[in-house]
Symmetry: C2
Subunit: 333 residues, 2 copies
């Protein structure tokens, strides 16, 4: 448990360091944040904070810098009820309404979300989705392409649509019936549980096609989420991104979505902003999920240096979450 003054000092160090990027000395804290005690007192307290792991010293004669634990304490205890200003909200709403005419389906909304976040945060931003919560295909359509191939289109329970080309001999007259049979079955239960034999018995002559369809659906029932990255132009604004190791971590995070999916799932499960501080090569991820009604659709967030402006980013992502969720809820279901 921290004393009141220790809290003030920790907050001072975090905010001052976020602003300046330089280690913070006891003198600065004393003059700007605790004018009623001397720098020697601050030094004593800083020793305690360091022992507890909230701050560190880059080297013995430097000031103090927040540790990940310090940032976490700051975020969890000192940013509660932190909100965007009405002006900032207005600005985001305006950008969103300018965007809206160009955004026509789920994926475009998701893509636009990353763009929006990057624009406003001036950091790298990503978005991810759509996920199918239950991962169930609910309807499908079959359309002939040529004598050996059929187009399979399917819709998941979250309204996401995708397609696939299937190769099999078939007779066109059966396609519509087969579509209906599958759709009726899938309406009730997932692809893993429907009775294949029953379908085969209804249209035995289409066995190769039916098998291909089931095969495809099983593969695809792990819905086809994509991730989008925006804001690479802002890399130059961030001094921490002059370090090759940090940049390499950034590249792997940008290009390998599996590295981020864990965080995304954590955010979706918690339903709220999820912050991972410095866990992946000196980078912080702040992730927020978004929903259509109560269905989780995906997540979005920023990737930046550990030293980022949490006081702005966190309420920003919370606000964007509510905007996007509202957009999605109006359009779907």
């Amino acid at each position: 448990m921290l004393t009141e003054r220790e809290k003030i000092i920790l907050k001072a160090i975090v905010e001052e360091y976020i602003n300046t990027g330089e280690p913070i000395s006891s003198k600065v804290v004393a003059t700007k944040y605790c004018p009623y005690v001397s720098s020697a007192t601050i030094r004593n307290d800083m020793g305690v904070l360091e022992e507890m792991g909230y701050i560190t010293q880059p080297h013995p004669s430097a000031g103090r810098v927040p540790s990940p634990k310090g940032y976490r304490y700051y975020i969890e205890n000192m940013l509660v009820d932190c909100k965007l200003s009405p002006q900032q909200k207005m600005r985001i709403r305006k950008i969103l309404s300018n965007l809206e005419p160009d955004v026509r389906d789920l994926r475009e909304i998701i893509k636009a979300t990353s763009w929006l976040i990057a624009q406003v945060s001036k950091l790298l931003a990503f978005s991810y989705g759509p996920i199918s919560s239950g991962k169930f295909v609910k309807r499908l359509w079959l359309t002939p392409i040529d004598e050996n191939s059929v187009l399979l289109i399917y819709m998941t329970e979250t309204g996401d649509v995708d397609h696939r080309v299937i190769y099999a001999k078939y007779s066109p007259v059966n396609l519509e019936r087969l579509s209906n049979i599958f759709s009726t079955k899938l309406e009730k239960e997932g692809i893993d549980k429907i009775d294949i034999k029953e379908i085969l018995s209804l249209l035995p002559e289409e066995e190769p096609l039916i098998k291909e369809i089931i095969d495809s659906l099983k593969k695809e029932s792990y819905s086809y989420a994509e991730s989008y990255i925006e804001g690479t132009d802002y890399i130059d604004r961030i001094p921490e991104f002059n370090d090759p190791e940090t940049l390499k971590s950034l590249i792997s995070i940008i290009n390998k979505e599996e590295l981020v999916i864990e965080q995304i799932n954590a955010a979706i499960n918690s339903g709220n902003v999820w912050t991972s501080i410095g866990e992946r090569g000196n980078l912080t991820l702040v992730v927020v999920p978004y929903f259509a009604k109560d269905f989780p659709i995906g997540a979005a967030g920023v990737v930046g240096p550990i030293r980022m402006n949490y006081k702005f980013i966190i309420p920003l992502l919370n606000f964007i979450k509510s905007c996007i969720s509202e957009m999605l809820s109006v359009r779907w279901r």
Copy 2:
């Protein structure tokens, strides 16, 4: 025009530098490549080569390094008829045949191409496509989703299929007829030229839907190529990728496909390997197009430091071009 010995020296410098990464001294060239003359003679020739712009000196007391012009001369004049060994070809064919069962449509082939190139080259690899040469939608299908939305699926002349959700009031009974009307029209000419009024006169009650369809097709007739990047794990193998500026260029190339599209188009137009050396922040792109029969489908290649093993990469990409083109040509049309 270079003398014979100058050519030998240039080749020596390029190949030695590609191997070692260190500036090459006259002594090394003399002992390893021109034992019949002295290092002083080599020095004289190197002075000439430097004056002509084929090589440079990092600093006055260092050896020589090839300039982009030097690399280009090397590639264009000293790598003609350079081929992969039968062993290497076998290896690639084997990887490809292992891959084949998992690769079911055009996009998956394109994606797998980048993976394959990265595997073999141990560099960052990308692939891009499918492009629609004429960019014409040839057939379309309309499928009802609910009372306000229709699924539009369309196929371009290169066999690429995509879909879009369209929002409009409509009556389901007209959908099939409308699909056929559009498909018949599009079979003959592009979306920009078909007679909208005629279609409207056939089904005047579907005006909102028809307009939405045409709108969508016009937007989408710029086909929906995607790019894939693989091999980010190999970044650590490349010493040049410890420089922050180089890494930043890499990030922008990886994330902003528009930066690469110019090179891709150049490769597609030339029909062959296209190399851009050091034009974008100390990086080299080697790009090769691939075809289905004679239709260009896309392009693939590597991104790496200027100092890369062209002697291997260029015949590698040529070989992959022929493999992929063959795969595509068998499957389509």
